[in-house]
Structures are given as C-alpha cells and as structure tokens.
C-alpha cells in the first residue's frame, strides 16, 4: 500500500493519533527552521517596544524587555523539545539497563527496588528541584536532574516485564541450551519489551517537557539567558494582568505540544496492544 493509503486508513481508525503526529511534526519543523520563520534574536532587547500586545510587527507582542515574544516562543520550543527528547532517551536507557539486570538477578533486585521505592516517594518535581539546587543552572543539568527523577518509573516497568518474560517457555528453552545471561537478556527478553517501552518513552517525553517548564517557571530550571517556555511564562507572570499574552501564548504552545505527544502515545499504545492485533 502506498504511504498515502496507509496514512489515510490510519486516520480513519485513529484520527487523534494522526492529528497529534502532524502537530508534533510541525513543532519539530518549527524548532529546526527557527531562524527562517520570521524570527529575530530572541535575546534582543528593545527598550522602546516594551510590553506591546500582539501586532503586525510583533506577532506575539513583546515582553518587559521589548523582546519579540514570537521569536522567544519558537526558540523556546527548541529547548523544550530537546530537553524532553534527551530526558526520554537517557531515562529510558539507564532505566532499562537497571531494570533488566534487576529483573533477572534476585539479589540485585531487592536493593534496587528499595532504592526505587524511596526515590518514587519523593515527588518528581521536588527531586528535580533539590538536584537543581546544588548545581549551576544549565540546560544539561536540567536534563540530568529530570532524567534522574524519571528513572525509577522506567526501572519498575522494565523489571516487571522481565519478571514475567523470564517465565516464558522460550526463555526456559534458551537457558537449557546453555545461553548465557547477557545473551538471554538481549536476544530473548528485550525484543519483547519494545512495544510497552516505546509507549512509556512517549509519555516520559511529555512529562519531561512539563517538568522542565515547571522548573523554569519556579526559577529552578534553565537559566534566564536561555529562552524556554517555562522561563517566558515565569518572566511574564508578575505582569500577568497587564500583559496576559506573555503567559498565555507560550502556555498554549506548551500544552498543545504535550497534548500531541500524549495523543501519539495513546495511539501507539492501542496499535501495539496485541489484543487489538488488527492489521491496518
């Protein structure tokens, strides 16, 4: 079937997923093509043009320093998407590794799960805040802090899957033919975990974007020089009543981006669920 036919039949069964995917595609493209989308330097201060509401010259108006909000939102999208994607990759990678080992080796498991339970008792935001408080603010540190906060969830998921997959007959068969542990993990167990992990990955992507924005909003996230959606909102909040667009517009962008990721994640979950193994 041609790509177009595949897409339109997917649209019929999962319309929200396709819409979410399209929005995401637009978001990524905008982030990539930022310099060519009618933007100016997001850090460029224009004292004469402070707090202007949206107009023809400044599509989203200007903030308290006269900076063009449209440009800041587009460049801010870059930061949010990069942080989200990086956190998803890192936390999935590390969490998967830990979960695989923990699910298979009982001695390791007991210690690891206790640690994960303790970590999960601390709300993710607070953990990230506490971590950011002892490091210099930077995008990299934000990524590391949020990743650390998200790892326990991945470990839990990976571990529980390993625990159940271990009992599968083909794994037992592999053991009896003398396969060694790394081989068993990588060749028999891991491939059967990809579907739920992929779905989890999209949700972490979404959660990370929200946490980064919340951190920046609270002042514990990306440094002030780096425009991120959370930062822009944080700066705009003190003058919210005067200049609602500074808070609401980035907020809307943020929410719709996360919404599209969630829709794609939900769609993926439906498609990859073996119970609904309808081929498109």
């Amino acid at each position: 079937m041609s790509r177009y036919r595949q897409l339109s039949s997917l649209f019929r069964t999962h319309p929200t997923m396709v819409i979410g995917g399209l929005i995401l595609f637009v978001a990524f493209s905008a982030a990539l093509l930022a310099p060519w989308l009618g933007t100016v330097d997001p850090l460029q201060i224009e004292p004469m043009k402070r707090l202007r509401p949206p107009s023809v010259s400044n599509w989203f108006g200007t903030d308290i320093f006269g900076r063009d909000v449209w440009s800041r939102v587009i460049y801010g999208g870059r930061v949010s998407l990069i942080v989200g994607a990086a956190v998803a990759v890192i936390s999935m990678g590390v969490g998967l590794a830990i979960g695989l080992v923990s699910g298979y080796l009982r001695r390791v498991d007991r210690i690891v799960m206790r640690l994960m339970d303790a970590m999960m008792a601390i709300p993710a935001i607070l953990l990230a805040i506490a971590l950011m408080a002892i490091t210099k603010p930077s995008v990299g540190n934000v990524i590391i802090a949020i990743s650390i906060a998200e790892i326990p969830r991945v470990v839990r998921l990976a571990r529980s899957m390993v625990l159940s997959l271990r009992e599968e007959v083909y794994v037992q068969a592999a053991i009896t033919t003398g396969a060694r542990l790394p081989s068993i993990l990588l060749r028999h167990i891991l491939p059967n975990m990809t579907a739920p992990l992929m779905v989890q990955g999209t949700y972490i992507f979404a959660a990370a974007i929200i946490i980064e924005a919340a951190l920046s909003f609270l002042g514990a996230g990306t440094p002030a020089e780096v425009p991120s959606w959370g930062n822009i909102i944080a700066e705009g909040r003190n003058l919210f009543l005067l200049a609602t667009w500074i808070v609401l517009i980035p907020g809307l962008f943020l929410s719709i981006t996360v919404l599209s990721i969630n829709l794609v994640g939900d769609g993926l979950r439906d498609l990859l669920d073996p119970r609904f193994a309808k081929r498109i």
């Binding site: 206790r114 909102i233 609401l248």
Partner: protein
C-alpha cells in the same frame, strides 16, 4: 491478620529510613562544591565558608550522617541558611494552607473523577465516553500553571467572579475561604482528576466483561445494582490504588499551584527557598512530603484489607 497489618506498618520504617538517607545524600551529588554553588557566584570566601559550616560539610562524612540521623530523630530538620530559623518551625507555620488545599482537592477529585469514570465506562463508545477521554487527555497535557493562568484570565479577570490570588483561612469566614480556594482546587486537581477518571473507567470496563457480571445479568438484577454493587466494589481496589498513587501528583503540583495563586503554604516556602538556594529548607520540605506519601500509601494498603476480602487470607 493483625500480624500482617503490624508487619505492613513496620515495613514503612526502612522505606522512610531510605528516603531520609536519600534526601541527606542529595547534597553530595553536587558536581561541584555545594557550599560554593549555594553561596552563588558573587559570594566571598567567608560567605562560602559560613555556608559550609552551616551545612556541616566541614565535618567528616560519618559524623555528618550521624548528626543528620540524630537531629531527625528529634524532629530537627536543620536551620534555614537565609533566616536562621529552624526549618521545622517554618514548615509548621505554612502547613495549614497546604493541608487545606490538598484535602479540598482530594475531596473534589473523588466527587468528580469517579462518577466521570463510571459514566464513561457505562456508556462506553458514546459521546459521553469520548468527552471524558478528551477531557482527561487535556488534563494530562496542560500543566497546572497554564491551567491556573487560563482560569485566572477567564474567571477572575474577564468575569470577575473570583479573586485572582490569595488565601483566606476558614477562620476568616466560610464564603471568602470558599471563593479563594475554588480556582486553586480546580487547577491542582485537574491532573489528578484525569488520572482517577481514566483508571476508574479502565477498571470498570474490565470488570464489566467478567463472568460474574454475566451471572448477575442472568439473575435479572437491576442495572443500578449490577454496576454499583457488583461492579464498583470490584473496582474499589484499583481506584483506591490510583487515588493513593495520585497523591504524589498532588504533592508535586502543590508547589506550582501555590506559586500561581500566591497561597502561603509549603509550596511557596519551597519556591522562596529555591530562589535563595536555602538548601536546608528544600531538604526539609522534600523529606516531609516524601514521608507523607509513604504514610498515605500505608493508609491505602490498610484500606485494601477492609475492602477486598480476598486479601484477608
């Protein structure tokens, strides 16, 4: 059975201990010198040293840990770097608004999310179901501060129905309290509502497909009785689990919500501490939240035993 309950209660102790160790050791995860980072770029060496002593970083590790444990057992959470007040006092001063907000939100969520989930499952596939699913995915996607500002914009600014910010304790009168708490409750509760509604719907859908539901229908029982008595009681365990797990969302969201609405609670305390890099306060609040979460999970487990007869044996 009593023995199992006691064991469960006792099992929280190692978890709390581990949480304490975790929170304690966070300071040492710093890639640089924590005292210097906390003091900031413009600090003098004296200031950095002062902070180092304040945090006890000049002592050997084991005695630091010993002091930490000792102080914890006496309920001493350290001293604020900024104000030199005991952290514990700062926390207890700000406790009421946070507790009130959390309780109101939990009640609100129970009263709205569970019926929503039930309705969606009962009428699965109809527009009711789809609306609930749409609402919940929006709840997951719109961060609480965005929702907060949207609500403020729509309701406080445009419609002028409710105050923009602030918190009025119940002691000052019930109606002003109510008016000040509505928007924060809605804001804080949105994610939690979405989670509980979805979980309720999913559990109920699964239950409606069970054999015993077919038996109930074969007996000619009324639809109400089937859904509420046969269905809901089975759904109670996953719903309660979700309510408990969602508390973590609530606790995390408190920080942001109090910041948006200017509520003088623990969340605000945290935000102030962030700005000032008042690490002992951050540590203290984190510990309090984490321990609360552990106790809430304990309460959830104890409720299970009452609700699901299979667990008793």
């Amino acid at each position: 059975m009593i023995w199992r309950l006691i064991k469960r209660v006792l099992s929280t102790i190692p978890v709390i201990g581990l949480v304490g160790i975790l929170v304690f050791s966070l300071l040492y995860l710093s890639p640089g010198d924590p005292a210097a980072i906390i003091a900031g770029d413009n600090a003098t060496t004296e200031e950095v040293d002062r902070i180092r002593v304040h945090l006890g970083l000049d002592l050997p590790l084991h005695s630091q840990f010993g002091k930490w444990v000792w102080r914890l057992m006496h309920g001493d959470l350290g001293q604020s770097i900024f104000s030199s007040l005991p952290v514990q006092r700062l926390i207890s001063q700000r406790l009421e608004p946070t507790i009130v907000l959390t309780v109101t939100t939990t009640v609100w969520v129970i009263l709205t999310a569970i019926p929503m989930g039930l309705l969606a499952a009962w009428r699965v596939g109809t527009w009711i179901d789809r609306s609930v699913m749409a609402l919940t995915v929006i709840g997951f996607s719109f961060p609480s501060f965005v929702i907060g500002y949207i609500l403020i914009f729509g309701i406080s600014v445009k419609l002028e129905w409710l105050p923009v910010q602030g918190y009025k304790p119940i002691a000052d009168g019930f109606l002003p309290f109510l008016r000040s708490i509505i928007l924060p409750t809605l804001t804080l509760g949105l994610v939690y509502t979405a989670l509980v509604a979805r979980m309720t719907r999913a559990s109920l859908l699964e239950i409606l497909n069970q054999d015993y539901m077919r038996t109930a229908r074969a007996k000619g029982l009324s639809k109400t009785r089937i859904v509420l008595r046969h269905g809901l009681k089975n759904a109670a365990v996953p719903i309660i689990t979700t309510l408990g797990a969602g508390i973590a969302l609530l606790i995390g969201g408190v920080v942001v919500t109090e910041s948006v609405f200017g509520i003088p609670g623990l969340g605000r305390l945290t935000v102030d501490a962030i700005v000032r890099r008042d690490y002992p306060v951050i540590q203290g609040v984190t510990l309090v939240f984490a321990v609360t979460y552990v106790f809430i999970n304990l309460a959830v487990d104890l409720i299970y035993v009452m609700v699901d007869p299979r667990i008793q044996d």
